[in-house]
Each structure stands twice: as C-alpha cells, then as structure tokens.
C-alpha cells in the first residue's frame, strides 16, 4: 500500500523549520484549500467532457471532437464562455436569497467532497462520524435548490424546486438506510475505519446478499439525489424550461452546473467507499501473491477508477430509462425502496448475528 503521508509530512517538517507553528498550520490549511479548489474544478471539467462523450456513444454520435485533440479542451472552452456571459440583474427577485443559493449548493458539495478518502494519507476531513457528517452536509444542497427556486419569482422555478425538494428529501431516507446497513457491517462511522475494515475483502463481497441489495438501492437513490437520469423531473426541459435555475444567467448558472457534476462524483465516490473499499486495492483473504500485486497500484488510482466506473453506470441509467412522473417517483421510494430497505437492514442484522458474512 503506497502511503502519501510521507509527502505531506515532508512539507509539514520543512514548513515548521521555516516558520512558527501557527503560521505553518495556516499555510497548510491554505494549501489544502487550493488543492481542494483545483481538484474540484478540474474534476467538474473532466466530468462535463466524460458525460458528453458517453452520451454521444450511447446515441451513436461522436460528441465533442473539434476543440483540442478528441475535444478534450471543450469543457475549458465551455467554462470560459460561461465566465464571459452577462449576469443579468432581474427586477422582481428576492436579491439576498437569490445570491445566497449558489453559495449553499457549492458549500454542500465542497464539504462532502472533502470527506472522500482519496488515498492513504490523502483524506482531508476525518471525523469519527465521517459518513454521518457526509450525509448531513450533502443535504444542505436541498436548501440551496429550494431557495433558488423560491427567490427567482418565476412559476417554472418554483415548481422545479419543490419537485426537487420532495425528491431529494424522499430519496435521502433510502441513502441513509443503506448507509446504516453498511455501518452495521463495518461497526464504525469514520471513513478511515470503513476503509480499514475492507482491507481483507470489500464489503460488497463480505456482506454478500444484503450488501448487494443495499448497493442497488443506494445507486437508485443516488441517481435521484443528483437529479439525474430517469429522475430529472425537477429540470424536465419540455415542461419547466430548466427547472430551479431558469432565472440564473452566466456564471451564476455555472455554479449549479458545477455542483451537479460534482454531486455525481460524490455519490459514486461514497458508493465506492461503502461497497468497493474506497482507495483499498482488491484483496482476497488467503491470496497473498494476488494481494501483493494489487498493492502496486496506488490507492488514488483505485479510488478514481471506482468512482468513474460507478458514474458510468449512473450516466448509463439516463439513456436507458424514460423519465418518471412525480407520483411514480414517490411511489417507487415510499412503497418499494423504503420497505425493502427496512427489510434489508433486518436481513443484515441476521447475517451479522449468525456470523454468516465472510
């Protein structure tokens, strides 16, 4: 297992030899902030390209292929275009809430993003209630969306935001319950601990049937949580123009766009953490040679590849299933996923008590 803490420890030591302790900590916090900002922005740009290319592949198109080699610079051009668009000042809006909404959306995704385990020694916020903290902060995003829709003073945005609120709030239950199911198996809520528990075998193999059910429910709920795929009715373009961000222009709109793609990454990152071991390489108990070979691949690569593969599945959903109606959406959550999830929790408890897991 590669350990990245030697790099950070080296930086820490050299900073402490140059300046007093408090200044060193401040500089390190600044470094963490700049690093977060860079990774956040670059990942969003990559995801825009990734999704457009995949959508094109699913529809037998080419996708972006003119700007740069294979269209790789397309999302940079998009971002620049968004920056030079005019930010229109509207007349009848609630100005304070209208300006506040993008902050809430971005803060929610940034805090959740900082909890993800990127590698050994590469996790930023490491609370002992990590996964609970992640659920808590990611639900701040709903507030931002509701505020955006309400303050815009437009009927499209109001309906879009209410739909989004009802949907995200309902599916949060399923996410919470599948996380509880996995926390039962892990016996800890800290992200570090969950990763460490999977050192011999990933949870999806360890918890077999209940873990697989929890994984499927988590993926469905996660897709709904990011307002994507078959659950994109908050921004159903044929009925609501663009949903809750109709009135936002230029870079203001860009923040919602950014947060949406980052939420896709966060949902797949958490799925990778809970079911596929976070940055932990693929290990099987007893296969020492195999495990040693897998350890040569760095944890960062494992985590990113898992997250990208799971995002691929979520993007795939979008082009496979037709959009649901709101009553179907709520029925799916409250009458199917929630009872199955409660039953699955009991099943997991039985599996743990009878020691039937690997």
């Amino acid at each position: 297992m590669q350990d990245f803490s030697f790099i950070t420890a080296w930086i820490d030591n050299s900073l402490r030899s140059l300046m007093p302790g408090w200044l060193a900590v401040t500089t390190e916090c600044l470094l963490v902030g700049v690093g977060l900002l860079l990774v956040y922005a670059l990942l969003a740009l990559f995801y825009i390209y990734y999704e457009r290319k995949l959508c094109a592949a699913f529809q037998c198109r080419l996708g972006p292929n003119r700007v740069g080699p294979m269209g790789l610079c397309q999302s940079f051009a998009d971002m620049f275009k968004m920056l030079i668009k005019e930010i229109i000042h509207l007349n009848h809006i609630d100005r304070f809430l209208f300006a506040l909404a993008p902050y809430l959306v971005i803060i929610a995704s940034m805090l959740a993003f900082a909890v993800l385990p990127w590698g050994n020694g590469l996790q930023i916020i490491n609370f002992n209630i990590g996964i609970f903290f992640l659920i808590a902060v990611s639900s701040i995003g709903v507030l931002g969306i509701l505020l955006a829709g309400w303050s815009s003073n437009n009927k499209f945005t109001l309906i879009g935001s209410l739909r989004s609120g009802a949907q995200m709030v309902s599916y949060e239950l399923s996410i919470g319950l599948s996380v509880i199911t996995m926390v039962c198996l892990a016996g800890t809520m800290s992200v570090e601990g969950i990763v460490a528990e999977q050192a011999d075998l990933w949870f999806i193999f360890k918890g077999h049937i209940p873990a697989i059910i929890a994984f499927v429910i988590y993926m469905i709920a996660g897709t709904a949580e990011t307002n994507r795929g078959p659950f994109d009715l908050p921004e159903a373009e044929s009925e609501l123009t663009a949903g809750y961000h109709t009135e936002y222009s230029g870079m203001h709109f860009g923040f919602f766009y950014l947060a949406e793609y980052l939420n896709l990454f966060i949902v797949s990152g958490v799925a990778a953490l809970l079911f596929f071991g976070g940055w932990m390489p693929l290990h099987f108990p007893g296969w020492d040679g195999f495990n040693a070979i897998m350890d040569y691949i760095p944890g960062v690569v494992w985590f990113i590849l898992k997250a990208f593969a799971l995002s691929f599945v979520i993007i795939w959903f979008k082009w496979t299933f037709p959009r649901l109606r709101i009553d179907q959406l709520l029925t799916l959550e409250w009458k199917y996923l929630l009872p199955i999830n409660l039953f699955n929790l009991v099943l997991m408890v039985i599996v743990i008590i009878t020691n039937f897991h690997f």
Binding site: S5, A9, D12, V25, C29, V32, G33, L36, L37, Y40, A41, L83, I84, K85, E86, I87, L90, N91, I106, M110, L111, F113, A114, N120, G121, L122, I124, I125, N126, W150, S152, N154, K155, F156, L158, L162, A166, V169, S170, L173, I180, V183, C184, G187, T188, A196, A199, E247, G250, M251, F255, D327, L330, T331, W334, K335, L338, L342, V349, I352
Partner: protein, 126 residues
Amino acid sequence: MITTAIFGIENNGLLGITALLTGVALVALALWIAKLISPSSFNPQKGEAYECGIPTRGESMSQFKVGYYLFAILFLMFDVETVFLFPWAVRMRELGVDGLLCIAVFFGILVLGLVYAWRKGALEWK
C-alpha cells in the same frame, strides 16, 4: 498501515472550516472574475421573468400543492428515526441481545408508522 491525518493536522474542525471557506472562495472568486470580464448593457426587458414573452399574471411566490408538505413531514419523522438508528448500528455487536430487543421495539414502531401512513393514503400523490 493506514494513516489519514493530512499534514498531521488532528483538528478536523479546522479542516472543515477550510473546506467551507474554500467553497465560499470558489463562488466569490468566480463571480468576481465574471463581473470583471463579462459585458453588461441595460435593457428594461432583461429584468423580466423568463416566460413566454408577456408579463407573468398573478403572484409567482404563491401557495403550492399541499402534497409536497405531507411528504416533507413524513420525511422528517423517518429521518429523525434514522438518526436514532445510527448509534445503535455502530455499537451493534457490543450491545448484543439487549440492544437488539430495544431496537426491535423501536423498529416495530417505525414500521407501524409507515403502515399507518400507507393505510391513511398519505403516500398517494393526488
């Protein structure tokens, strides 16, 4: 060997505040750059709501369907109950049979609540 504290900073609150401020900085910085380089021109039509061209009739920040409200209340109930399940889930193995019996009663009440809401028709979208 698993090490996670980045830069050896043990104070997670500090790192959390750093992440929060990074989020604020991202929005503020990008908006500032956008304000600097984007054009702006005045036209009274631009300030109107995005609709089909004629001014909106009536109040837009109006009453909305009560169904959303019902689901919000149901969510509140179940979410608070999930919060109570978390501490038990962490200590499940240590609490043993006693904890299991207690949580079974709690879980039964939770399921009864869902059944009640279902039978009352609160889960129908009308």
